[in-house]
């Protein structure tokens, strides 16, 4: 059900109230970046996806339709965008390159950022460890090895639908963990 608060927020944003928009941005920016990061594995890309989402959200606010809550809308959109990113690049290549270039990327980051980056990996790993083995394996194959759903389905003799369902559950779990992590901070 749409909450009263969400309806009011939505209405304000549609009316062009930049203050309300800003407060939504500030509340969700960090957790959404982490969520995008957990899917893409790239901090810069994650931030770009989040900024792009908010940019489009404001630009096309007239057409905005939120059926559940603002929060689930944002998380859903970030997930779709992040997945789209993963599909559009050859993840396998990216991942290898990313690993190789890890050293070179460091100079751009401050020590705090590196620390956060590490912490994030920990949050993700911790979440993964809690998952049933099959779900964990599917996530690793998809995210780390860059396999497509179809390829994973063939390897594990499962249907693509099952892979999709397992991935959805993984993303839900990641979202919960990220929320816990960001609100503890």
């Amino acid at each position: 059900m749409v909450m009263l608060e969400d309806l009011l927020i939505l209405r304000k944003i549609k009316e062009g109230d930049i203050k309300t928009f800003e407060s939504v941005f500030r509340l969700y920016y960090s957790p959404l970046c982490l969520y995008a990061f957990s899917i893409t594995g790239r901090k810069d890309i994650a931030e770009e996806i989040v900024q792009e989402l908010f940019y489009v959200l404001w630009k096309d606010r007239d057409k905005l339709q939120i059926l559940h809550s603002v929060k689930s809308y944002l998380y859903g959109a970030i997930r779709n965008q992040s997945l789209q990113y993963c599909e559009h690049v050859n993840v396998r290549e990216r991942y290898k390159e990313h690993q190789l270039n890890a050293e070179e990327q460091v100079p751009d980051s401050t020590p705090e950022e590196m620390l956060e980056y590490k912490e994030l990996e920990e949050v993700i790993n911790r979440t993964l460890k809690k998952l049933p083995q099959r779900r964990q394996a599917i996530f690793r194959m998809h995210r780390l090895e860059g396999l497509k759903y179809k390829e994973i389905a063939d390897t594990l003799s499962l249907s693509v639908k099952t892979i999709e369902a397992e991935m959805t559950k993984t993303y839900q779990e990641l979202r919960r963990e990220i929320e816990k992590y960001t609100y503890v901070l």
């Binding site: 059900m1 749409v2 909450m3 009263l4 608060e5 309806l7 009011l8 927020i9 209405r11 304000k12 009316e15 062009g16 109230d17 930049i18 203050k19 309300t20 800003e22 407060s23 941005f25 500030r26 509340l27 920016y29 960090s30 931030e47 989040v50 900024q51 908010f54 940019y55 404001w58 630009k59 705090e112 620390l115 956060e116 912490e119 901070l185």
Partner: protein, 285 residues
């Protein structure tokens, strides 16, 4: 672990980047933009502001009341520019829907033989029937005498005056010439160039315009629900009888009946169930 402050700084930076981008692309509202924003700015806790919005209407109405002249036992209720339709119920149960920039002046208690109010601007009325106490509306140009009916008055500028009757019958008298016409459902009385005439109503949408953006202030739930139902064909709202007297202050903006029902439930902590074309609103079990 990163401190809250650092996280804040990062968000600040990201917000500034986004803001600059929106600004560069001409996507930000102009400086003289919507008046609507001003409630938000006055609330110190940004996040709490969303909840406070509901109260904003009440504050505005209170502000109006205290800022306007209220003579001896007379009350004045005015609606500001750009505000939603302001709904008010008089002591006899008659209801006025004030357009933006409309105002009514009315006695705290009506006289025994008549109910008289003074109107400036455009308004829609639902007058409760009482033949012994005619309802008289005075405007700058005319007197309107009603027995029990619904009609729309346009008296925004000094020159023209029009009144369209939705149900019932109304007598309109020009103040200048003393001339009177009776106007019935589907007709419009038009006063122009000192001539008063009754014509067929063409603009039926005028009745609905009030409901697109509407503010109920301390209205009984039974009234709010009745008004919603009168203006929707697709679905009806039903409340359990004990809830009828609950008071509600709420603003609707082009909302569907379903959304309005949800808003009512959230505001008054009630529950709703849907049965085909009926939305039932009840106390939570």
């Amino acid at each position: 672990m990163k401190s809250r402050e650092e996280k804040q700084q990062k968000t600040d930076k990201a917000w500034n980047e986004l803001y600059a981008r929106l600004e560069q692309d001409g996507l930000l509202p102009q400086a003289d933009a919507p008046v609507k924003q001003h409630f938000m700015q006055s609330v110190p806790l940004r996040w709490a502001a969303c909840i406070a919005l509901l109260l904003a209407g009440t504050v505005a109405a209170w502000f109006i009341k205290t800022n306007f002249y209220a003579g001896e036992d007379k009350l004045l209720l005015a609606n500001e520019k750009g505000k939603p339709t302001l709904v008010t119920t008089f002591e006899d149960g008659s209801i006025a829907y004030l357009s933006e920039q409309a105002s009514v002046e009315y006695p705290r208690h009506f006289a025994e033989d008549s109910r008289e109010i003074y109107l400036k601007g455009d308004a829609f009325f639902e007058v409760s029937s009482n033949k012994q106490r005619p309802f008289v509306i005075e405007t700058q140009q005319a007197w309107i005498e009603v027995v029990g009916t619904t009609f729309n008055v346009r008296s925004k500028d000094n020159e023209s005056f029009s009144l369209s009757v939705r149900t019932g019958k109304v007598k309109v008298t020009s103040k200048k010439s003393g001339e009177s016409v009776f106007v019935t459902a589907g007709q419009t009385a038009l006063l122009r160039d000192d001539q008063l005439r009754a014509l067929q109503t063409r603009d039926f949408d005028q009745f609905n315009r009030y409901l697109k953006f509407i503010h109920f202030k301390d209205q009984r739930l039974s009234n709010v629900v009745r008004i919603i139902n009168e203006n929707t064909d697709s679905i009806q709202l039903k409340i359990s009888p004990e809830l009828g007297d609950r008071l509600l202050t709420v603003t609707f903006h082009n909302d569907s009946p379903q959304t309005m029902a949800q808003l009512i439930c959230l505001a008054l902590n009630l529950e709703l169930t849907v049965q085909q074309n009926i939305i039932n609103i009840n106390q939570p079990k």
